[in-house]
């Protein structure tokens, strides 16, 4: 434990930006101050992480700010702590966040709500950093809810459109469902780890007591926490909000719904890995949920036409990969993938944003095409992102994804591995499909739109380039075991996440698996090339042949409709009935009845109030005489 007095600055600087934006609402000031404060936060984070890296392994920085709650035996402090896990997350959040802030300056330049946008964005940064730096689960929960709030505000940023507001509401409500599970999990955790010293949700306390939990209890806690994580990280069955969340401005999609917030669930499970390890059943469920989500989302992504929707389902799919990693016990690997995913997915989203920006708001890939020449920087960076997510050797996604596959295999889950590899292939296919549809072929845009297509300004392209560099180089911190310096990030994270338990170093080596995955990904990419560059008529023919399957995928398995029929509508009907009978009948009846009673009473008694003072005086005299009479008679 190393005392530190600068950690509080990391969340405080964005908070200051938020207050500044709210208080002044000055465009010129905010568009400079907001990115600058986030950048400053990044610098502070770098300094803090450098301090941590310089210290011996397993140490952590602690910055106690004040005692927040002290009631009975329970105590929660506002204390920030920075260990390896938090360090990685903080750097992702502040670094990518800074780049996206800079990007936003260009992207939102013409929006009237710019100060409000940066206020929300800075508030999000504050909440996310609170979540990541929290020393206890309660403070983490504050950040957890804070990012949820900001997500809601930013999805509905253009609230004039009902659809956007509805999307924000949907995200909020679905997240609340997850939060119920999360809160129950927290309560159960606090209750079951309560010791002689009373209850505590400090991570140190939880880590110390988790081993003592029974497998059943730990599994129950883990499952409840998983519900929360599924909500936040868009896993089956609570993933439905994320595609709709694309209604928000594209930088928001990049920052919140790809790079940072949605990984909060991953972070939380990694942070509490001891609890999950104590309940292996929960861990197995995590793996199943993860791999199922990965495949499920990838299949939907195959047929989407909205550029952002494709990326959204891709994000869900990648989050499924991370969940899989968690489920097989490779916590550090999951975080590694969080990092690389943050780089290339932010890059892809920002690239998509650049395209949308250049296309005057057009999001449908069927009306794009041929943008390669018109938007060279966007194209090349988008290509890098696509290669990275598809797993082209040497790029960021290659290393992290293959590490997940390898750990899945090594942990003894060949079925999961198979599904994951298929998913990776599908990923390569739909990403290249997106790339080809957008940048290759003949322009399909409307003439007046096509005339205005232009490369984006420097504030947007510079972050793209930087993220592209990171997408290329970011994976080299986690090389496979035995390659050069090996999994450096894994070793760095080990004190926080523990070492992966490899069931058997089987006959098949990592290199073999890597080769298989890479070949399959290349095949997927080639198929995409065939379908969308070489033979553009093929997809239509296939869709015609497998009409049912295509409809299923295009309809996103009708999950939204299913939920609507099974949950939303019965719930609305129940609410309606309750409103009609309980609220209007019983409660309003009681209230109105009380009022009516008072009115009737008042009508009766006001007859006494003649308004003539002398009548009152007469009553007064009678009363006085009566009192005196009482004294006399006594």
């Amino acid at each position: 434990m190393i005392a530190s007095s600068i950690l509080w600055l990391i969340p405080a600087l964005p908070l200051a930006g938020f207050l500044l934006a709210i208080a002044t609402g000055n465009r010129a000031l905010v568009r400079v101050a907001a990115p600058a404060l986030v950048g400053a936060s990044f610098v502070v984070a770098l300094v803090a992480v450098a301090t941590l890296a310089g210290a011996e392994a397993g140490s952590r920085l602690v910055d106690p700010v004040y005692t927040w709650i002290e009631v009975g035996g329970f105590r929660a402090d506002v204390t920030f702590r920075l260990d390896a896990l938090a360090a990685v997350m903080v750097l992702i959040v502040t670094g990518v966040g800074f780049l996206i802030h800079v990007y936003s300056v260009g992207y939102m330049a013409h929006d009237a709500g710019l100060p409000r946008f940066f206020a929300y964005l800075n508030l999000f940064m504050f909440a996310m950093l609170l979540l990541v730096l929290a020393d206890n689960l309660l403070l983490l929960f504050v950040g957890w809810e804070g990012v949820g709030l900001c997500s809601y505000l930013l999805i509905g940023f253009w609230y004039e459109d009902d659809a956007n507001a509805a999307a924000g509401k949907k995200a909020f409500v679905v997240n609340r469902i997850g939060d119920v599970g999360f809160v129950l999990g927290l309560l159960l955790l606090a209750w079951s780890t309560a010791g002689a010293a009373g209850m505590s949700l400090d991570f140190a306390h939880v880590e110390a007591h988790a081993a003592g939990l029974g497998a059943g209890t730990a599994a129950a806690i883990g499952l409840l926490l998983l519900v929360g994580a599924a909500g936040k990280s868009a896993q089956i069955p609570l993933y439905v909000w994320l595609p709709d969340a694309m209604a928000g401005p594209t930088p928001v999609s990049a920052l919140i719904h790809a790079a940072t917030m949605v990984t909060a669930g991953i972070y939380m499970i990694a942070r509490l890995h001891v609890v999950f390890e104590a309940g292996p059943a929960a861990l197995a469920v995590v793996a199943v949920v993860g791999v199922a989500t990965a495949l499920f989302a990838a299949t939907i992504a195959l047929v989407q036409h909205d550029i952002k929707k494709v990326l959204a389902y891709s994000t869900v799919s990648q989050l499924g990969f991370m969940m899989l990693a968690l489920g097989v016990g490779a916590f550090a690997t999951a975080i590694f993938h969080v990092m690389t995913h943050a780089f290339f997915k932010a890059l892809l989203f920002l690239g998509a944003g650049s395209v949308i920006h250049g296309m005057s708001g057009e999001q449908d890939v069927r009306r794009m095409g041929g943008l390669r020449a018109r938007m060279p920087v966007t194209f090349w960076t988008f290509l890098v992102g696509t290669l990275a997510i598809a797993g082209a050797p040497g790029l960021a996604g290659f290393f992290s994804k293959d590490e997940i596959l390898w750990h899945t295999w090594a942990a003894g889950h060949p079925v999961f591995w198979l599904v994951a590899v298929v998913t990776a292939t599908l990923t390569a296919f739909y990403m290249f499909r997106l790339l080809f549809l957008t940048f290759f072929g003949a322009p399909r845009a409307a003439p007046e739109v096509a005339a205005h297509v232009h490369e984006s300004p420097a504030t947007m392209t510079v972050p793209l380039v930087l993220l592209a560099v990171l997408s290329i180089a970011g994976g080299w911190v986690g090389l496979p075991e035995g390659w050069l310096w090996g999994p450096a990030i894994g070793r760095f994270l080990a004190p926080s996440t523990g070492h992966p338990h490899l069931a058997h170093h089987g006959a098949v080596g990592e290199g073999t698996l890597m080769l298989v995955a890479t070949l399959l990904a290349a095949a997927g990419a080639a198929l995409a090339w065939l379908f969308y560059v070489r033979r553009p008529e093929l997809p239509g023919e296939l869709a015609g042949r497998f009409r049912a399957l295509h409809a299923l995928l295009a309809g996103k398995y009708w999950v939204d409709e299913l939920y609507d029929a099974l949950v939303v509508r019965p719930y609305v009907r129940l609410s309606d009935a309750l409103w009609r009978f309980v609220d209007q009948g019983l409660i309003d009846g009681a209230v109105n009845g009380t009022a009516a009673f008072v009115v009737v009473n008042g009508q009766l008694w006001r007859l006494v109030q003649t308004g003539n003072v002398q009548h009152y005086a007469l009553v007064f005299v009678g009363g006085a005489a009566a009192v005196l009479l009482y004294y006399l008679a006594r």
């Binding site: 006001r606 109030q609 003649t610 308004g611 003539n612 003072v613 002398q614 005086a617 005299v621």
Partner: protein, 100 residues
């Protein structure tokens, strides 16, 4: 020597007459006068009991009662004048403006 209780009886009767005056009269000014009558009934009690105790404290209280009565009369009559100016009446029946 007249017993003090006679004075007290007299003051009680005066007070009661004043009370009836407050209740039955319709003219606001007369009501104010009836209040003065009540005050004087009480004043008599104070003076009589001061004599009974051989102390002037009761007379001092009467002094204060007079000061307050003077203030009351001044303000009360000013209100009556203001009211008369608005409604051309000093009848208590017209003073029930705050009635429902």
């Amino acid at each position: 020597m007249i017993p003090i209780s006679w004075y007290l009886t007299l003051s009680a009767v005066l007070f009661a007459i004043g009370v009836v005056g407050v209740v039955v009269r319709r003219n606001v000014i007369v009501i104010l006068m009836a209040i003065e009558l009540m005050l004087n009934g009480v004043n008599l009690t104070f003076v009589a009991l001061a004599r009974q105790l051989g102390s002037v404290d009761g007379q001092v209280v009467v002094f204060f009662v007079m000061a307050v009565a003077a203030a009351e009369a001044a303000v009360g009559l000013a209100i009556v004048i203001a009211f008369f100016r608005n409604r051309e009446s000093v009848n208590a029946d017209d003073l029930a403006l705050l009635r429902w």
